[in-house]
Each structure stands twice: as structure tokens, then as C-alpha cells.
Subunit: 197 residues, 2 copies
DNA sequence: TCTATTTCTATACATTCGCATAGAAACAGT
DNA sequence: ACTGTTTCTATGCGAATGTATAGAAATAGA
């Protein structure tokens, strides 16, 4: 009944995600975006709502992929799961490790003063999810006696989220998967010391 | 002998610094830059080398101000000086605290894939200075017996730098001077635990 | 094969970008 | 006052921005 699309939507979103991840939002023009995603301008406008719409969909994909893949182990893993999660941030080949840092961190910084509302929401959504997962892991650690009960969990979870942002920021700034390693080791070491005390 | 300039160079650089700090590099056009700094396009081009030249001078100003004011206490202060430095990052009114995060962090992330060489250099210059100062403070802590000698100082200093980046990234992302507080407390707490162990 | 529907390609749009230039304006020295 | 020098204002440049649109192309069903 109609001319078929020349692209696969999922693949296009994945490519758009990588493109924005690497180049940022403003620095990536629509014409180069076509080239990198295989989409045409008409499709970007009609099917995705323009450049910003595609960006939002790419963010959603990025966030959901991390939430569905990297975070679940935290739900029942206690401190070892947190340590594993943090180490993955600086492990070559890991899904959450990249010389481009993290799309959500990059977005939060690049668009902090522009924030289109929908962008702010997408960024907050991701960090809330991570904070919640950290909190779950810490609660399990306390319940199993692996972490003293006098440790203030809410602040610790928030602090770990900020630490994750620092790891990603360092990785991107130095264009290396492993630049944030020393911070990861501080965070892991701190969790270990809390456990012992 | 000539028509006097209508602006004060120092003041203009300070204003440009704040403008780039808040809005980022790409998002800030030359015409709005004129408005925010009091400079005219001719002066931006002739006296500063265009938009990028002014940006570099603003970065240099920002870095030198921090190096000259915020870092010196680290040179002889040991761990308490580190703790004070970190707390300042999330203290309203402190020079190193801002809802816009840190100009160098923002630059490192926004321009990570563009890097004009001179920008990369300016970013690296700043973090090298901070790392060196952290190392000095940690050495003093070890020499005075305040920190065990088996603590690996180089990695710790690097990790603290990454932590500082995380604090700034969090502050900017949440548009708050104090959003990174929990990470600061983790870092300070870790230093304290290292001291005790 | 013809039609209806959807997507594609190609082009054009107004706006903005940073930068450049020409002429007016403001001084110091004579 | 006049001159020489520098800086200012005003305007314009080509290129790039994201978006819009018109007509060609490709399909399914009749």
C-alpha cells in the first residue's frame, strides 16, 4: 500500500545514540546525522520529531538499555554488586564504559542551561533509577549484616551517583575508558572500609 | 594618540569567563557575548583573537584564579586542607562552588571530540595542577605520620581529581551549589578512614 | 496496468553563525 | 585647528543551521 522505509527504526536509534554520545547535541548537524544514521531528513522530521525528538529517543534508548542490563544486578547483590558495577565503568568492553563518557552526563552538562524540560526529565529519570538501585543494594547489605546499620544509606547512594558522574566525566575528558579508575577504587575502597568498621 | 578603548580588559575577561561558564562555548554566540561582556565584535577579533581566543583567555583566567587562590592551602595543609578544599566545592559563597559547575569540567566534556589542541592543553593544565597539589598535601600527611605510608598516593590524588570533576558535574546537572555534597562527604570520609587505619 | 498511499530525493527557506571591512568617532601631539 | 592613530559602529559576507515543501519513486491492492 505504500513505499517501504529504507531504514530500520531500532538500528537508526542505536546509531543516533552513538552519534550524539560521541559528538554531543549541538555539534552534530542534521546533515551529518543523516549520514551517520542512514536516516533521511524527512524521516527525522516525520518519524522522530526533528533533531531534538531523535535526541530524546536516543536518550531513552540509552537509559533503558542501562537500566535493563547494567542495573538489575544491583537489585539483589549488595556491596559486591556495587563494586562490580563501578568497576564496569572503567573496564574496556563493558557496556557502561566508553571513552565518550556517558550520554546522560554529557547531556546534563551541555544542556544544563538550555534545558528543554523534556531533556531535564530524561536526565533526572536516569539518575533517579541509578540512585534507587544503589539504595536497594545498600539496604540488602545492611539487612544481611554486611554493612553497619548506622551508615546513612540515602546520602551514600546519592554520593555514589555523583561518583559515577565523575568517572564518566573523567573518561570523556581524557578520551579513555579507564581514566576514572582511581576514583572507582576510592569508592570501592570506601565501601570496603565501611563494611569493616 | 588614539581613541581610548571603551572597556577594561580584566573586567571583560571576567565577564566572558562567567558567560562561557554559564552558557558553554557553542551555545554562546558572538553577538550575545558582546552584550554580556561589554566588548564589541571588533575588539573580540582584534584584541582577543575571535571567540575562541577569548574563550582561551577566559579559561586561563579561571584556571589561574583557582590555582592562585583555592589550591595554595593544599601545599602545606595535609589532609585537613584537602577536606577543606573539597567542602568548599559545595559551599555557597565559596569561589570554587557554582550551580554552573566548573568551566574546565564543562569544557572537557563539551569539547572532548573537537579539541582544538589549545583547549586540550588548557584543560590538562588545570587538572595537572590540582593533582600535583593533592599529591603535595598527601605527601605532607604521610611525612607527618597522619597517613599510613602504604597508601598509594599517586592513585589517590588522581582519584580525588576525578571526584572533584564528579562534584562539579553533579552541581551543574542539578543546577545547585550543593548537589555534590554527598560525594564530597564520601571522599572526606574515606580520607578519614584511611587516616585511622 | 492503474490507483492510492507512503516515503524518498532535491531544493528552498529564514535564521544564525563567526568573521571581515569601511567609514565615523575619539583621542594625543603639534 | 589640524593630523595621525586607534577604536568604535554599522553593515555585509559566505557558510551552516534546522525545518519545510514539492515532485519523483516505490509499494499493495484492485
Amino acid at each position: 500500500m505504500a513505499r517501504p522505509k529504507t531504514y530500520n527504526r531500532q538500528e537508526a536509534v542505536v546509531k543516533a545514540c552513538k552519534a550524539f554520545w560521541e559528538h554531543g547535541y549541538q555539534a552534530l548537524g542534521v546533515r551529518e546525522l543523516e549520514r551517520l544514521t542512514g536516516l533521511n531528513q524527512f524521516a527525522i522530521r516525520t518519524d522522530f520529531g526533528g533533531k531534538e525528538g531523535l535526541y530524546l529517543e536516543a536518550m531513552r534508548f540509552y537509559a533503558d538499555a542501562a537500566i535493563a542490563t547494567a542495573m538489575p544486578p544491583l537489585r539483589a547483590g549488595g556491596i559486591p554488586a556495587i563494586v562490580a558495577f563501578l568497576r564496569n565503568l572503567v573496564t574496556v568492553g563493558s557496556m557502561t564504559s566508553s571513552p565518550w563518557g556517558c550520554l546522560v552526563v554529557n547531556t546534563g552538562i551541555e544542556n544544563a542551561r538550555v534545558q528543554s524540560g523534556r531533556l531535564t526529565e530524561a536526565v533526572a529519570y536516569y539518575w533517579d533509577a541509578l540512585e534507587t538501585h544503589f539504595k536497594l543494594a545498600l539496604e540488602i547489605a545492611q539487612d544481611s549484616g554486611d554493612l553497619p546499620n548506622d551508615v546513612e544509606i540515602d546520602g551514600l547512594a546519592k554520593g555514589l551517583v555523583a561518583g559515577v558522574m565523575g568517572v564518566h566525566a573523567t573518561n570523556r575528558s581524557e578520551n579513555s575508558n579507564t581514566a576514572g579508575t582511581d576514583l572507582v577504587e576510592i569508592l570501592c575502597g570506601h565501601l570496603t572500609l565501611l563494611r569493616a568498621s
